[in-house]
């Protein structure tokens, strides 16, 4: 018996009981659609969050003073650790050929004022490398000059919001703004970027690292940002960085955070969440499976005579089993297809209603939803089909219709 014959026999049997078939298909499709919808939702949330990080690239790593045992979070401030200095940062770039770029970062919070207007700002001290490493753009004027990082030049770049609040409509380029106790010349404007990794770029002031260190009166950097050639090298470069800094510090009193590790742990948390929610939705699939079993049991009972006939005219037990399993699987597959359609349309509807959440239904989810539906059909179809196959032809023919 070819698969085509099986399909045609089962479709025929299902078409003979349209109402029953429709209800069962509906039950399966509700299960499949809800699983798909929830997977899409989880998947999109994951994508959304990871995209927030992707702006910073997966080939980045950060050296942070202080030691923590776990990865993924910033280390707790610890008073006894030694600073990671500008010299350390420069040694990393100089001595490790696979570190392509480096930006030291110092941070200070202070007041900025211009012609009587003032506001509190976060000033980041770094080098010209900061802008490309953070994927920022200079909208007007120029980047920080390429110079010895130890030089405390009093120039700065400002975000668009700072510009608006301190200068209004006027061009800030060339103007002097007072930051802390010193006057800085504004040499550039950072293109609007909004919130990125918890920092509002538009409210940022960027100045040379040595100037900011002097301003906050510290030697230690907030962190050092390193870029390697590709994210495959991250793991090895990480080891090299640890070795080199340990040499310089005599102990491992710093932490290396790789972008990959942050993304991985975040991704896995969201993945677990999606899985858990989908598992709850899968309960409805199991209920649908019981529906299939019920319908198939009715079908076997109604068609006892037909089963007897099949056997009398030369169907083997295995063929009878196949006929009923195929019927259950077809029922489930129809439900799966309808459910997949409803799920995808549902996801698109959510996307229309909540534009901030771009929903995508991953292909693997559709494929596995269909596979699960068919296996449920076969799984719950086994009992009725076995019942049919085990009928002796004699008993079966006596159940005359």
């Amino acid at each position: 018996m070819s698969p085509r014959d099986l399909l045609s026999i089962s479709m025929g049997a299902l078409a003979a009981h349209r109402v029953r078939t429709r209800f069962t298909v509906a039950a399966v499709s509700i299960g499949v659609a809800s699983v798909l919808l929830l997977i899409s939702l989880g998947h999109s949330a994951q994508e959304y969050v990871l995209n927030q990080f992707a702006g910073v690239g997966s080939n980045l790593m950060f050296v942070v003073p202080g030691k923590v045992e776990t990865t993924g979070g910033p280390p707790m401030a610890s008073g006894t650790t030694r600073d990671v200095t500008l010299e350390d940062a420069e040694a990393l770039l100089r001595q490790l050929p696979r570190v392509h770029r480096m930006a030291p970062i110092a941070v200070g919070v202070t007041m900025a004022s211009y012609e009587g207007r003032s506001r509190s700002i976060t000033v980041i001290g770094s080098t010209s490398e900061f802008v490309p490493l953070r994927n920022l753009k200079v909208a007007a004027g120029s980047n920080l000059p390429e110079m010895d990082a130890a030089r405390a030049m009093r120039v700065c770049l400002i975000g668009v919001k700072i510009q608006l609040e301190l200068f209004g409509e006027r061009s800030p380029l060339g103007e002097f703004v007072k930051i802390g106790d010193e006057k800085y010349r504004v040499i550039g404007l950072i293109a609007p970027e909004g919130e990125s990794m918890g920092v509002n770029i538009d409210e940022l002031v960027l100045a040379p690292v040595a100037s900011v260190l002097k301003m906050v009166n510290r030697r230690g950097l907030f962190r050092v940002m390193l870029q390697v050639g590709s994210h495959e090298e991250v793991r090895e470069v990480r080891r090299e960085v640890i070795r080199l800094l340990k040499e310089r510090h005599d102990e491992e009193d710093f932490t290396i955070i790789t972008q990959q590790a942050v993304m991985d742990s975040l991704g896995s948390i969201l993945g677990m969440l999606t899985l858990a929610v989908s598992a709850i939705a899968a309960i409805s699939l199991a209920v649908a499976g019981i529906g299939i079993m019920n319908v198939m049991l009715i079908s076997v009972a109604e068609r006892t005579a037909e089963i007897g006939l099949m056997k009398a005219i030369g169907a083997s037990n295995r063929q009878v089993l196949a006929v009923f399993l195929a019927e259950a699987a077809t029922l489930a597959l129809l439900g799966g297809l309808v459910g997949a359609g409803v799920g995808i349309v549902g996801a698109k509807t959510v996307e229309l209603l909540v534009p901030a959440l771009p929903m995508s239904t991953p292909l693997w989810a559709i494929e596995s939803a269909l596979a699960v539906a068919i296996s449920i059909g076969i799984g719950f179809g086994v009992l009725p089909a076995l019942k049919a196959a085990r009928l002796t032809p004699l008993e079966a023919l006596r159940g005359r219709v």
């Binding site: 070819s2 014959d5 078409a15 030369g314």
Partner: protein, 224 residues
Amino acid sequence: MIRLEGISREFRTGQHVVYALRDLTLHIPPGQFVVLMGPSGSGKSTLLNIIGCLDRPTDGRYTLDGRDVTGLPDKSLVEMRRNKLGFIFQTFHLVPRLNASRNVELPLVFAGVDAGDRRSRAQRSLESVGLAERVTHRPDELSGGERQRVAIARALVMDPPVLLADEPTGNLDSASGAEIVKLLVELNRKGRTIVMVTHNEALSKLGHRLIRLRDGAIEQDLST
């Protein structure tokens, strides 16, 4: 063709044991038309089921077309039903959702014959029972006599040497019944062995041989 030796069949229902057949011996040579009669409960249906490899005897030996089928596994019994036997039932047992041609094709489907071949063989079989014009009709669009002829076409489509008919005219009016009987006689004349169970005394002289059963044993075995 059919050789039954010392066949017994008992049914157990709880504490009771019912003997449907007791130590029955019967030889049917090829080409013979046997009419099987007897009151209900005499064992004629059980006998037909055993001959048809639908049931197994509790005791005795059964040889069909030279092959001892007594101890054969289910799978081989399926082969015997497929190739040696054609069944005709009182209630036709057509699949209501399939048209005449599809019903006739069913045995070929299970035997693994490919679709193109099936169509033409079903067509030929339907022609041989005079239903060439009714190929695409479904059972509910056919008269009783036509339905039984579709069933006969189905029984013939695998070209088996033996036809087993269980009250083939029981559900038909006399005119349709007469047509079916004519058809069976004709098929026998072309060489098929036929065993027909009936209650209808008018049909008792139809074949070569009349066997009357009572209480699971042969009461009378007449050449007619």
